[in-house]
Structure formats: structure tokens, C-alpha cells
Point group: C2
Chain length 354, copies 2
């Protein structure tokens, strides 16, 4: 069963007794230019032959493609999985396709992806990078690459055409931390992978700000940030949280409240808490970030900061599409959505002193 030769626009034209241009006109929304009868003949021929236009040829000719790139840390992390899903749905609705790239938070891999996407003729990508610097993509941006960064607040040194869409990570973590403080916690810990990314730094800042605002000495809080490794995969976040909790809770002055950089990490923390024979909420409170589907399913249901990922994904696609289809017309901008704290049952007042 060998690959058969493809049907071309030529063959359709011939079958319909018209020229290729006429078929092309029909295909490209210029049906009004022809007689209804002609149009009908062509439609029939297309149908009969099962003709599908060759996109490579079209792209070569027009320089346009209906594909965008999506670079996420890892779709293995349910948060990114959900984001990818919603982005792809938004794209599908407008006839776009999405090429998936998992950077695993590896800057080199990210760079490589962007290059490859460019070679593919892709001129729009949603980058969930959160690398502090975008210098590695600047050359391509200057050549016309449209970039929407997600979950990475705009930085002063960013290319000016850049669009940033993100939840306000500082505010989010502020909310989370303040919630814990309000509950009476005084010994807090912040658990994260390496603080190399913009978003992690922002979340950390929200944590520290809240501490200061409450008059708590900054050094009253433990910070556990993934020890040695340069960068951490998003799937390993849970393992990291688990390890962090075990370590923090067996030290002296163990925290009564733990703020985790994201939900996967928080779930790992919860697991670690049980590992050392303690109970979440009852003994130590945990707050996450993202509000993945599993946060609500967990036992106890996780208190967390919600990222409205369907809306965020929809906005990201809309921005990107507008720019790809109409390059150089709108300046860069930044959308910072205020996140919402979802209080569930992983947080409670600290245990009273014995």
C-alpha cells in the first residue's frame, strides 16, 4: 500500500474544466468573482477528488502559516497541560495549529526550539519561559518573530514589541502569605525550585513583602529553593516539595506554614508532611499556586492562588493572532491579571503551643 500521488489544484481545475486560478480563487474566499455555475462545478470536483490543498506550497508562496508555537516547561505538569489544552482550543477555533515544545526549563533547549520554529516558518509563539533575559530570541524578534510571553511579567530590558500575559505573581503570593499570617502563623517557609525565573522571583517577592508588611523579620522565614540544580523540571516539582518538607520539618524551629511556589510543589509538600508523621492543616498549613484541577480533589483540598488559565490562554492566543496577522502595527504591552486566593482546607490556625 504505497503512498499515492497527491491530488493537486491542477487536477481539480482540469476536472472542473477551469483554470487553476479559478480553483484558487474559490479556495481563498473569492467565490464572488465567478459565476454560480462555475463555482458549483469546482466545488463538485474538489469533493469528488477529495482534494486537500498542500499547505507547504501555500506557505512557500504566501509566506504565511497557520501554525503557532507553544513553548512550555512541561505538559507533564497539569497546570501546563491545562494551559496547552486551552490554547490549542482557542487556536483550533480560528483555524490555527499548535506545535508543542517542552523546554524542561532548559534555556538551551528553549533557544533551540525557537530557532526550529522559525525555520518552520512560524512567526508567532507563546513562550512560557520566565527566563529573566530574552536576549536569546532578540535576533529573531528583530526579524519579525511575534512573541507572547506567558507567566513572566514584562522586564525593563525586554524587546519593545513584546506582549506579556501573566497573573500578578507578587500579589498572588502576597495574598497567600497574608492568609497564613492572618491565621496566626509566624514561622513560615517558602519552597521553590531554583529562583532563576522571573515568575519564581516575583512569587518570592510577594512572600517577603507580606512578611515585612506584617512586621515579621525576613529571617524568621526559611527559604528552600532547590539546592544545587541549575533548573528544575516542572514534574520534579512534587519530588522537590516532598524533600523540602521533610527537611524543614525535622530541623529546629520547623515552620507551621509553608508557601509553595506552585501546586505540584505544594502537593509534594503535603506528602512530605505526612512522611514525617504530621498532618496537613492540623499541624502545618500549606498554600499552593495555580489551582490545578487536582487542588480541589486533594485531601485536604488545597488552599491556593488561582490562575484563570482558560481566559489567560484565550487572551494569549488572541494577542498573538492579531500580531501575526498584522505585524508591526501594535506596540508591546503587558497584561497582568490579578489572581484570586482560593481558601480550602489545607490551611488552618497553627497548632497551639503544648
Amino acid at each position: 500500500m504505497d503512498a499515492m500521488a497527491e491530488i493537486t489544484i491542477q487536477q481539480v481545475a482540469q476536472a472542473a474544466g477551469v483554470s487553476p486560478s479559478t480553483v484558487s480563487n474559490l479556495l481563498n474566499g473569492r467565490a464572488h468573482r465567478m459565476l454560480p455555475a462555475t463555482r458549483h462545478r469546482v466545488e463538485k470536483a474538489i469533493e469528488r477528488l477529495g482534494y486537500r490543498p498542500n499547505r507547504a506550497a501555500r506557505q512557500l508562496r504566501t509566506g504565511r502559516t497557520q501554525t503557532i508555537g507553544l513553548v512550555v516547561p512541561s505538559v507533564g505538569n497539569p497546570f501546563w497541560g491545562a494551559f496547552a489544552r486551552h490554547l490549542e482550543s482557542a487556536a483550533l477555533a480560528e483555524g490555527y495549529h499548535v506545535l508543542l515544545c517542552n523546554s524542561e526549563r532548559n534555556p538551551e533547549r528553549e533557544r533551540h526550539y525557537i530557532d526550529e520554529l522559525w525555520s518552520d516558518g512560524i512567526r508567532g509563539v507563546v513562550l512560557c519561559s520566565s527566563l529573566p533575559s530574552l536576549d536569546h530570541v532578540r535576533p529573531l524578534i528583530e526579524r519579525g518573530l511575534q512573541l507572547v510571553t506567558f507567566d513572566r511579567a514584562a522586564q525593563a530590558a525586554d524587546p519593545e514589541s513584546l506582549v506579556s500575559i501573566s497573573v500578578d505573581n507578587v500579589v498572588g503570593m502576597h495574598l497567600a502569605t497574608t492568609h497564613l499570617i492572618g491565621l496566626g502563623h509566624r514561622r513560615l517557609a517558602f519552597v521553590s525550585g531554583a529562583l532563576g525565573s522571573v515568575n519564581r522571583k516575583d512569587r518570592y517577592r510577594g512572600f517577603v513583602d507580606a512578611l515585612e508588611l506584617a512586621g515579621l523579620p525576613a529571617d524568621s522565614a526559611a527559604v528552600w529553593s532547590g539546592a544545587s540544580a541549575e533548573w528544575f523540571g516542572d514534574v520534579e516539582a512534587a519530588e522537590l516539595g516532598r524533600e523540602a518538607a521533610r527537611e524543614l520539618l525535622s530541623g529546629d524551629r520547623p515552620p507551621t506554614g509553608i508557601v509553595a511556589v506552585n501546586d505540584m510543589c505544594a502537593l509534594g509538600v503535603c506528602r512530605g508532611i505526612r512522611d514525617v508523621g504530621l498532618r496537613v492543616a492540623h499541624d502545618v498549613s500549606v498554600v499552593g499556586f495555580d489551582d490545578i484541577v487536582l487542588a480541589d480533589l486533594y485531601d485536604p483540598p488545597l488552599t491556593t492562588v488561582r490562575q484563570p488559565s482558560p481566559q489567560l490562554a484565550t487572551s494569549a492566543f488572541a494577542e498573538l493572532k492579531a500580531r501575526v496577522e498584522n505585524p508591526g502595527t501594535t506596540p508591546g504591552r503587558s497584561l497582568l491579571v490579578r489572581p484570586e486566593l482560593v481558601v480550602r482546607e489545607s490551611t488552618a490556625p497553627p497548632p497551639s503551643h503544648p
Copy 2:
């Protein structure tokens, strides 16, 4: 900042003082045909100009593309997210890209995707469909589309060139059910979305087989399979499980053991169990399927049937690549991996009678 004109192979050739063919030869692993000096000049020119070959042109010319399609129910489900991640990694390692499609278990959407992928010139796709019939893609398979189905055991009526890769769902659920029975459970329930897919049917069969083998009347078991809806999204699985648990446990003769069609569903079931004031394991045991990362993180850690998704994804890609690069050479085949039961803490003997 307008899109600049792209650098072409012509310009590189000119800059290096050679012909385009020489550049092309270098690009396509035929460097040995030229003098080291020539080669060096060309490499320099490529570097200096920042030349990236235009893939659309290459694809148009050769008819080949280094992109494969991936159709999953939804990357929002952590199992599919992890699978997608591993497949993409395997692809990347061989210089392939992957186009992501979320079918949401909607047959029409799936059909549409396959058509689009074909138009994109993609000749290999990993289909995680589990629709009983593949008739909707048969025309394309006959034209040369290479298909690897995942998580869908081969069916008699399948196109003969088809490759199927799957865990043995019947055996898997048999293992899970037998485990529950061995623990002493006699009133079991099976919770699933609509049983429309091959994989769900297989899992159900494993459940029933185990029941029969143990001499338990089939009608001693409750089956809860997503009531009305035609098809269920994979993200809604959790919600469905939750609802199922609530309903099953408030009926008369509530089950003491629940077998869920997958982990997301199982996690929902656990949540539902708590909703009605019961405790997982202590009051009702739960087994899942997939072994997503969260299964181990959950409280209690979920007993489940493991799908080795990294290996499965790697095999799927390898099979597909071999066929795409060498079509029509190997006949269809079917790989059925025996899954493993991972006993954790969501299962325990049934509560003794009051």
C-alpha cells in the same frame, strides 16, 4: 520593526562564492563531496548570515516533513500530558516536531484533525483515539498515512498496516479487581465515562472477568458509566468519579470497593467518598488506572495499575518514525504491554460488619 526578508540558500551561496547545490549538499549530509576549504567557506557564510533553511520549501520539494501529529483526548489530563511530554522528547531527539491535537474524545473533531494534519503534509500520526472503528481515517491510510494508535488494542476490522501500542487493559483491570477481591471485597463497583471506547470496554471486561473468575455474580457489581453524555472529556473524569461515588454510596447495598477507569476518575471517587463522610481505604477501597504522578502524592496514596508511559511513548515514536521514513515496508503489528499493579494505601480489607 517589520519582518525582514529571509536569507535564502542563494544568498549563502553567493556569499560563499559557490552554487546553491553546494550549500544544499552541505546541508543534507553530503559534505564529503566537497573540498574542506569549500566546506569551510560555506559554513562560515551560513553562520555569518544566520541562515536557516526554509522548511516549507524543503517540504514542498521533497514531500517529506519532520513533523508528526499527536491526537490525544486532552493534555489537560495528567496522564496524557505526561505521554505527550515523553513523545515530544523522543521526537525531538530525532529532529522531529509534534503538532498537538486535543480531540476531547469528540469523533468529529478527531476526524477534522486528521484531515488537517494530512493537509499539513504530515504522514505520521500517533492517535490516542480508542474509537472502536477507524473507518474515518481509512481513506487517508490508503493514501499513505502512517498511524500508530495508542491505548487502543488492535481490532479485527482495523486497516492492516496499523500499529497498535497499548497496555493490556483487560489484564490490568483484572489485576486491580482481583486485588480488591483478594482483600475480601464482595460488593464492587466499576466507575467510568461512557463505555464507547475500546480501552474502556477492555477495562470493563477485565473487571467482569475477574468477578466471574472469583465466582461472584456479575450483577453483584454496580456499573456507573456516565449516564447520558455521548462522550466524556478526560478532565471531567474527576467530576464524574465524584458524582458516581456520591450516588453509589448513598444507594442501598453500597460497594465497599470501587474500580475506576483511570486515575483522574479514581481521585474524583476518593473526593466523593469524603463528601459523603466516609474514609477512603478504611470504609471504601479505590483502585485507579494509569499511575499518574499524583497517584503517589495523594492521601491516601492511590493503588493503581501502572502504564509505563515513557517507554510506551518511546516505542510509539520509534514505530512511527520507522514507517514514515520507510513506508509500506513493514506490516501492521500490535504491541500489548503487560501492566503492573501498584499497591498503595487506597485499598484495604472491607470494614467488618457492624
